[in-house]
Amino acid sequence: MIVRILGEGQYSVPDSHRDSLNVHDGALAAAVASGSEPDFRATLDALLAEVRSVGAPLPDEELVPSDLVLPSPTATIDEVRRLSGDEGLVGG
């Protein structure tokens, strides 16, 4: 599957890592819900590190849509809330 890390580009990640990414998804959602900045930072860093290590950067000349869009490494909790529609965008 194709995964985009915002501000960084796209990676081709083997489908076998889907479950692992789901675990990260839950952890990041929990950190966002708790509002704890250190938890959020740690889970986001772990998630992006895994994508970078198991994924291969897509060549620049490749033009394909992503299956998954992930926050940028410098994203804040508020930004992730906005990006995921938790704040305003989709009616709260």
Binding site: G7, D25, L28, D60, P65, S66, D67, V69
Partner: protein
């Protein structure tokens, strides 16, 4: 994939899809879309250049703040030499306040530099993708029927839209950040101009400078006086009492009194 990531993905894509128009017969709009991409790419380049310019201006401002801090330190030393510890303390506490603000901004500035480097990379990636789109559109126009091309073109469009949207957001974020930092640097500038500190032109004098100048001019008066007294001391004793009765010229005395009243 359920949850947070899938919500992020669909919201991002909904936004990205509005970045580039899609057409009924995609083949006809390939050229139009490419023109539009070139235009957007130009905007991105301008954005990245603006961020670099703002960053450089902030760096210059940080340097001038450092100059002010150095000047305050020199002033505190001067005040101490004149025996005015209160004035020295005031200069040092202003210096600390300015340095604190400068340090905060400096941290943000380093973050901005890192972001700028990423933007330059993103811009390079975007340029490569636009070039890839150009090649691909020629192939698609030559090889496929409209129906066959549809899927491939849609895919290329989506890929491009995502890239533009991603880079566009990153540029916007960096621009917002520089604007915030500019506002904070502006606040320091205002502090410098408000009389609390001198501006770099040296035309506006702050209260510490005024006080130090007054101290030095009154001490000059004192030393002149001492010199005159010394000269008079060599004169016949008869005229000495008369002069001793009015030891200091009136203006200097008033100034000295004012200094003592408002330390």
């Amino acid at each position: 994939m359920a949850g947070l990531f899938s919500r992020m993905t669909s919201i991002f894509k909904a936004k990205a899809n509005s970045a580039l128009d899609k057409a009924e017969d995609p083949r006809q709009t390939l050229d139009y879309s490419y023109e539009k991409q070139l235009e957007l790419l130009k905007q991105v380049r301008r954005g990245v250049a603006d961020v670099a310019t703002s960053r450089k201006r902030l760096e210059m401002q940080m340097l001038s703040v450092q100059d002010q801090a150095d000047k305050l330190e020199a002033q505190s030393l001067q005040a101490l030499k004149a025996g005015r510890e209160d004035l020295a303390r005031e200069a040092l506490s202003r210096r600390a306040a300015v340095l604190q603000q400068q340090a905060d901004l400096q941290t943000q500035l380093s973050g901005l530099q890192a972001e700028e480097e990423k933007l330059v990379l993103a811009q390079k990636r975007l340029t490569a993708k636009v070039e890839a789109f150009r090649t691909k559109k020629e192939t698609l126009k030559a090889t496929y029927t409209a129906a066959e091309a549809q899927t491939k073109i849609n895919e290329a469009f989506s890929g491009m839209s995502e890239e533009f949207s991603d880079v566009g957001m990153a540029v916007q974020r960096a621009e917002d950040k520089t604007a915030q930092m500019q506002a904070r640097a502006g606040a320091i500038d205002e502090l410098l101009a408000s009389g609390a500190l001198t501006d770099s032109s040296g035309l506006v004098k702050d209260d510490i400078t005024v006080e130090l100048e007054r101290l030095s001019s009154s001490s000059e008066v004192e030393s002149e006086l001492a010199r005159l007294k010394g000269e008079l001391g060599q004169l016949p004793a008869a005229s000495a009492p008369q002069i001793a009765a009015a030891p200091t010229p009136a203006p200097a005395a008033a100034e000295q009194a004012a200094t003592e009243e408002h330390p």
